[in-house]
């Protein structure tokens, strides 16, 4: 790829090492949302922030190559449908949004019924919202200076 895009070599190398760990931390926060502080809201945005870090370090072209823009609405739709499916499946337990799965033992990862699955569904929504923010910055602002540069100055 083009070496001039993005920041210097040191930043790129450190980013390449760190991105995986930050992504792992976000997934940890999502999965442990019912035990410790955090949850789908915070963890989803942390996952989205890894892509922003990637964008800032490597430039726009690299992330547009890795994450096609058409895949983000798909992710968001999957998240929303998953949340709605959890709600409808609550009719097995008697009513809408019933917590009908086995509850397990407290302070363990597999506990609290449908709450972890709802956390994952919400995290998908948040990731897609954060990526929408990135592409708002990338795609929408890309045309502006070239178009209005002559008119404004």
């Amino acid at each position: 790829m083009d070496n001039n895009a993005g920041m210097s070599l040191i930043v790129k190398t450190v980013t390449r090492i760190l991105v995986g760990f930050i992504l792992l931390y976000g997934i940890y926060i999502v999965l442990h949302g019912h035990i410790s502080p955090g949850g789908g809201f915070a963890g989803g945005f942390i996952i989205a922030l890894t892509y922003i870090l990637f964008m800032l370090a490597f430039g726009k072209e690299e992330i547009l190559k890795r994450v096609p823009q058409s895949r983000i609405p798909l992710l968001e739709s999957i998240g929303a449908l998953m949340f709605l499916t959890i709600a409808v499946l609550g009719f097995f337990g008697g009513y809408f949004f019933a917590n009908w799965l086995p509850k397990g033992i407290s302070f363990k990862l597999f506990s609290a019924g449908t709450i972890p699955i709802s956390n994952i569904a919400l995290a998908m929504l948040e990731v897609s919202l954060g990526l929408f923010g990135i592409f708002l910055v990338l795609v929408l602002l890309k045309f502006t200076p070239s178009k209005n540069g002559g008119k404004e100055n």
Binding site: P37, F41, S106, L129, G133, K147, N148
Partner: protein
């Protein structure tokens, strides 16, 4: 009482920015500040003196918890704030592309 009053002052600062400023980015900043004030007021409203965070811990019986319900509502509100900000920035950029200014009075002049 003083804490509630300071939240109200923060909201009034945001309201002043929305009403008085002519730059669209300043208006967006005013909306963001109003959001901060509302979230802060919700959390301050549910605070219990010398309370603990609403998370159970192993082998401990916690009775003096702060109110968890406003926290759950404010969590939703914070995330909505980001969506609102993104939408407002998108609209502002579109306005800039069409009129090449951020000043709302100029936009009104161009419309005739």
């Amino acid at each position: 009482m003083l804490t509630y009053l300071l939240c109200l002052v923060l909201f009034c600062v945001g309201l002043y920015a929305i009403l008085r400023k002519r730059n669209i980015i300043k208006i967006i900043i005013g909306v963001v500040i109003c959001e901060y004030a509302v979230n802060l007021f919700l959390i301050v409203f549910g605070y219990r003196a010398n309370g603990r965070s609403p998370i159970y811990s192993q082998d401990q019986k916690i009775i003096d918890m702060v109110d968890p319900l406003p926290q759950a509502c404010a969590m939703t509100s914070i995330v909505m704030g980001l969506a609102i900000t993104a939408l407002l920035v998108a609209i502002a950029i579109r306005i800039y592309e069409k009129y090449s200014t951020f000043d709302i009075t100029k936009i009104r002049k161009l419309k005739g």
